[in-house]
Symmetry: C2
Subunit: 501 residues, 2 copies
């Protein structure tokens, strides 16, 4: 006799298998695939994705969810099963509201737009991408309307990446953060003691960078029995199940930061997925609860741990063993200042901690305005440059270094950017909480000991997967919702010391 919950899990397990399989098709594409594989691979991915979608929105699934809803009526609302049914129901209702014609249009238009965006960026000419961007914003407005009523048309988009989050919440937190970060960056660049990061730009042999990175992420707790590392052009983390979570890293022989902080970042993502309770395997709960919460984990290991002076007290001596010719003469203070150098970069992905969120808030403001129609796509480049000047005091030299730099919009991803900044904020909120529980943490990090930190994250965050929505989880752990205060305190303390302000 199969119970309604077992039946639902069976159907969801098959959908999970299909998603994991699609992830493997993607991973292989970026890590191994020879050039000839591109054409057949696109068709394989389309077929697997279509079957996953069809299976998830099938009548059989709808009935299984209804039966399961009745069956969990008697259960504790916080039980795994009750939460599984709740999340599945939410995702199902969201997915069936989107007509398949819209999905087909969206696939077709974004596939085309991606190529045109590449061309536009290459030629630094927004007009090539403009008609496609216009179509995409139009489609995204339609998409939002499938979920009426809403407070703001941005909300249904944001909900895809950050379940339960409203744009008003994000706006309110960003409004507190924005003037602070603008002023901090101004002060650093105009009044700060200049930082020399020449040491990071020497020649660092790639194999040794690889070996050092592997040593570090083994130390912090990335599990190679249940994962592996490869090289790829764009670093990413992907999961084929809780026990097979892989990362990729890229290497720059002339810039040390690229690999080491990229590797820590991806390992942070991966440890989240590796830490999910195995009972949740092959269900929609077996993944990080949101992109923002995910980014809080990657940023915590990359920045709060990896770019701290404490961390380098432990690891600079090890780095000197790998690269005696390059770093044997540098001391921890200077190395710490170098890896935290603040710059007016035009490019988001190259931004340091002090400037990063400004890049995000710029995009968030523009997306919000486009979604309500107060900013026309044709006026986007000018709006970008103006806002950039307001934030950073300089204007991008061209569209390639401005409005055309990111792939996201060409792929139809609108509402995705804020999650990067949310990750920074959440990480700092958790970080304050962790130090209350582990007052000894900095001393542990200085001894290259991360067991207690990882254990804390496993217990409070990782194990739950998507069982709780991100803000609910944050509240359970910290007792408060999203806040800018901890991140502001963190930035202020750190950079006033580094720049002697």
């Amino acid at each position: 006799m199969t119970t309604p919950i077992e039946n639902l899990k069976k159907l969801l397990g098959e959908v999970a298998d299909l998603h994991y399989t699609a992830a493997l098709l993607n991973w292989d594409h970026q890590v191994n695939m020879p050039p000839g594989g591109a054409r057949p691979r696109a068709m394989q991915l389309a077929t697997i994705s279509r079957i996953a979608h069809d299976n998830f929105v099938s009548e059989e699934m709808g009935q299984a969810i209804e039966s399961a809803k009745q069956a969990v009526g008697d259960l504790d609302a916080d039980s795994d099963d009750a939460r599984l049914v709740k999340k599945t129901d939410h995702d199902y209702l969201k997915e069936i509201k989107v007509p398949s014609d819209w999905v087909a249009d969206f696939s077709r238009i974004t596939a085309l737009a991606h190529g045109e965006w590449e061309k536009a960026r290459e030629q630094s000419d927004f007009s090539i991408f403009e008609p496609h961007a216009k179509e995409i914003i139009g489609l995204r407005q339609q998409y939002a309307d499938f979920f009426k009523p809403y407070d703001h048309p941005y909300d249904p988009l944001l909900d895809d990446y950050e379940p339960g989050m409203k744009s008003a919440q994000v706006k309110s937190v960003f409004d507190a953060l924005k003037p602070f970060q603008i002023e901090l960056v101004r002060a650093i660049l105009e009044e700060g003691e200049p930082v020399d990061d020449g040491i990071l730009h020497l020649n660092y042999e790639i194999q040794k960078q690889w070996d050092f990175g592997v040593e570090v992420i083994k130390d912090i707790g990335y599990d190679f029995e249940n994962g592996r590392q490869d090289k790829s052009t764009h670093p990413f983390t992907t999961s084929f199940g809780i026990t097979d979570v892989r990362i990729t890293t890229r290497f720059d022989p002339n810039f040390l930061n690229t690999a080491i902080f990229g590797t820590l970042h991806e390992a942070g993502h991966a440890m989240y997925e590796q830490g999910i309770r195995t009972e949740l395997d092959r269900t929609p709960l077996a993944a990080g609860t949101s992109l923002g919460m995910h980014e809080s984990q990657s940023r915590m290991w990359e920045n709060l741990v990896g770019r701290s002076k404490t961390f380098w007290k432990a690891y600079l001596p090890k780095l000197k063993e790998y690269f005696p010719d390059q770093v044997s003469d540098v001391n921890v203070d200077d190395f710490y200042r170098a890896i935290n150098k603040v710059e007016r970069s035009f490019i988001r992905v190259e931004a340091d901690e002090a400037t990063y969120n400004l890049h995000i808030m710029l995009r968030f403001d523009l997306e919000m305005a486009m979604m309500v129609g107060s900013l026309a796509v044709k006026d986007l480049p000018e709006a970008w440059d103006e806002k950039f000047e307001h934030f950073f005091g300089v204007r991008p030299p061209d569209d390639a270094k401005g409005v055309l730099q990111d792939v996201h919009w060409s792929s139809g991803l609108v509402g995705y950017f804020p999650t990067y900044a949310l990750g920074n904020l959440i990480a700092s909120q958790l970080w304050e909480r962790i130090h209350e529980d582990l007052p000894d943490l900095q001393a542990q990090i200085e001894q290259a000991s991360f067991d207690n930190l990882l254990e804390w994250l496993r217990e409070h965050i990782h194990q739950h997967g998507s069982k709780y929505e991100p803000m609910e989880l944050l509240n359970r752990v910290t007792g408060s919702g999203l806040e800018a205060g901890p991140y502001m305190r963190y930035l202020e303390t750190k950079f006033k010391e580094i720049y002697d302000l």
Copy 2:
């Protein structure tokens, strides 16, 4: 307006995508997967395979085949479309005759049997594997009965790997071959001039073996734009589309043959798949026409090319550049004798050309007898050892080196072994034909020039994929069916010279 043929191709394309995806799941399993991946991977593979099967035997597919059959009525029976419909119809009728209960039993029992076989082989104790082998033979007898009437219960099994072939044909050819090969091996080992292959057992650095192998297979025409090479425990070739055909190789630092001949073998398989006309892509015609024809391609490059004296006239000088310390003093004649040393190996996969088919004929005789019930599974070890002694003059020391050595039966593969020997026979038949068309071929090989040979294979064999059944294709190319004569002539000439008989 979609035509019936287009509709059929659309459905078949999706099934092909699923099969290619399953192949990637398998490839990754053997090449990259961390230990933790095993459990989720098994479920992913089961789900994808089940969907591929369900889609292929669906009513929709049945109707599409019926409509397409009517639509191709007016076409040339040798057109791609007519052949596609014919083959699809054959495969479909075969697949729907197998009840899903049987498929489920077969999966369950072989999954279990595989582990028990591993244990049995480790302990060299057939009794551990015996009850599972008995179940598997029983299931295979049932399977054959789904396809009654047949001439022999072995025929429906053989047809899965060698479409259209009957066991009577195989038996008749083997009957001609068997006494000849037994006598040849006896003469070599008792009367031949001993061969010293010590040179092959020196230390050969793996990276250099890899580089030499890559140079060789690039020369013969394996296309790295549409493929790649990796390492794995068991070498294999796999395809994710005509333009992404990958090989794996294994390396033994103390035996040169393993990698070089393994690499040539897999490249031979892969070039067959890479040579299929792209018009056949994503259809059941986009694969080699049978395991025997496939093996003819791998064996041709491995043995008829790779183990010839002519080939090493070109490549021994190159090998000396890679391994000056090991081979600089050896001459082509001695090297050629070393790589062709004949031995009484108990293990099939280590067998040389002169003995290889005897290992196959032994398995074929035993499988035939078990399928008709004249040999009971419990008597298999004794029957194996007796036959081995009859063929080779010695008895295996234990079951691990005898009846338990191969994985095939534990996976339910019965009727598969003969295709290895058919590959040797077909390769020799083609080889004689090729030399008629390319009288200059040996001189070309001596110059490391393989373009004409590959072009001949592409034109006569590769491009057609599975458009023609294997024996039909052989007939079209050579004007005759399966024959033992060419292989016997080849073995006799080669080994009488080497062993000075």
